[in-house]
Symmetry: C2
Subunit: 293 residues, 2 copies
């Protein structure tokens, strides 16, 4: 079966990285003979000449160069495995609860969660989808570790995380979509607006900046899109949520005379940083990084 050892790989790599047996030996705090022995044994176990001498200079053979690539990869994988193992022992958090506003873009969130559970494979992830102040409510009630919401918190730590563009949309067959001229607020007031209900139990703010005479209130972005695609009204919705429908033509972005696009800042909220476990810290790092651009 497997004849080579990880230590041999390390030494082989070291010889290449530091340009010689003696240099490698010094850098990895081993004797030259140890390094030489290990590499020599690796060579005979693999049945491959890894190095050849050109004068006094050590040069990788073609085989050696190729095996080095594979071995580097293996070493990297081993390191990952052991790192994961080191984060698996009892004592660390076993769950990560995230309250996230529905208007927050899902891609970076899911990517971040995927990366975190790569690092902490035994973690249980809970994603609590909320609207408006619902995310922060859950955080304050201790039902979530982190919230991604459009509001900052007074009690806890908040930081800017990203900006979400809201566009005014209506169904392709809607009267507003057929208007030639830019729309005014008055035009909008004459039609039904679909509004998102705040999911917090305490407060009652609603998404929707216009005081339309008729309004329907729904609990989910998906429901809002459903209604609008059926031509039952218009709404402000996150661009990323309606992009595919704008693409296939079932929704139209309305041409407002002033401010057809609005932006909302989203914030990353969490309780005291000192008390955070490694899982939450890792998640924070990931989501910060992934929402950078």
């Amino acid at each position: 079966m497997a004849r080579s050892t990880i230590t041999q790989w390390h030494m082989f790599k070291a010889v290449v990285d530091f340009g010689g047996f003696n240099q490698a030996a010094e850098r990895i705090h081993k004797s030259p003979s140890s390094v030489h022995n290990a590499v020599q044994k690796l060579e005979q176990q693999l049945g491959v000449d890894l190095f050849k001498m050109q004068g006094r200079k050590l040069v990788l053979t073609a085989s050696g160069a190729h095996l080095l690539r594979r071995i580097n990869y293996l070493l990297h994988e081993v390191e990952r495995m052991e790192h994961v193992a080191s984060n698996m022992q009892v004592g660390i958090e076993s769950s990560l609860r995230i309250a996230v506003d529905e208007a927050f873009p899902k891609e970076p969130l899911y990517q971040a969660l995927s990366n975190v559970s790569e690092e902490f494979p035994l973690i249980r992830v809970e994603v609590l989808e909320t609207i408006l102040s619902g995310a922060d409510e859950l955080l304050e009630q201790g039902k979530a570790d982190v919230s991604l919401s459009p509001f900052t918190l007074s009690e806890n730590l908040s930081e800017d995380i990203c900006t979400v563009k809201f566009v005014l949309v209506a169904g392709a067959g809607h009267h507003l979509s057929k208007a030639k001229l830019p729309l005014t607020l008055e035009d909008l007031k004459a039609h039904r607006q679909i509004v998102l209900r705040d999911s917090a139990l305490n407060k009652q703010t609603n998404y929707g900046w216009l005081g339309a005479d008729q309004r329907w209130t729904v609990s989910h972005i998906a429901s809002s899109i459903e209604l609008i695609r059926r031509g039952l009204g218009y709404a402000w919705l996150p661009q990323h949520a309606v992009a595919p429908f704008l693409e296939d033509g079932s929704l139209k972005a309305l041409n407002l005379s002033r401010g057809a696009v609005r932006s909302t800042n989203f914030y990353l909220n969490f309780t005291d940083g000192e008390l955070l476990g490694p899982v939450t810290r890792s998640f924070l790092g990931q989501i910060r990084y992934l929402t950078l651009n």
Copy 2:
């Protein structure tokens, strides 16, 4: 850095595979204490409990189960690396020369070559594209190790490899494409046929089953398609080569009264099997397998 060893992984895996320390010890021809020691050391080096006892039954912990997956993967990768290494030493062929008829489907060929060079990473691959007897000529002249051609060989070994369908095609704007009724051979004779020139220097067979009065002869399928798309004639061409153009409508399959589709068998030809090196053997295995369906 890396603290665990491959031997430890093997023993860990063995304990799981064979359901206990003692059984594992017996199966891998080690003493129970060796196995136990190795796994115990692995546990403390990773800082993870791999097993727990339920009565006298050994059960993987959740961490153990996850690490086993990663370790299995690692063991598999190590094996691959060592297998590749074992095929890399001097003495084995360093090149693989394949003469292949242009009408032969490229996908399985390229896939087979990709798999072979995965196994023998230092190999130099030469693909010699030929028409008709050209492939076998190269094989007989010793300029190729394997040929994929529409002919069998008398001197060397041949085996069926796959069947290629030829369809009669013309450009979308061509007279023949516009015919309502099925075409007859007489209809075809009235138009220009594009024929493929045999790439062998000795022989002079040409692809094209019909004795058209006018004929143009070209050296490559790509040229033939070019001409036909421009409406300059018709030709018998491999279905897989013209499929994309039939799809986009720039070529039309002609509706012949009898035999609008013809099939040609392709053969895998090579010299004496005893003398084949491991690289050629591997390629033969791959191409056989990939053309099975």
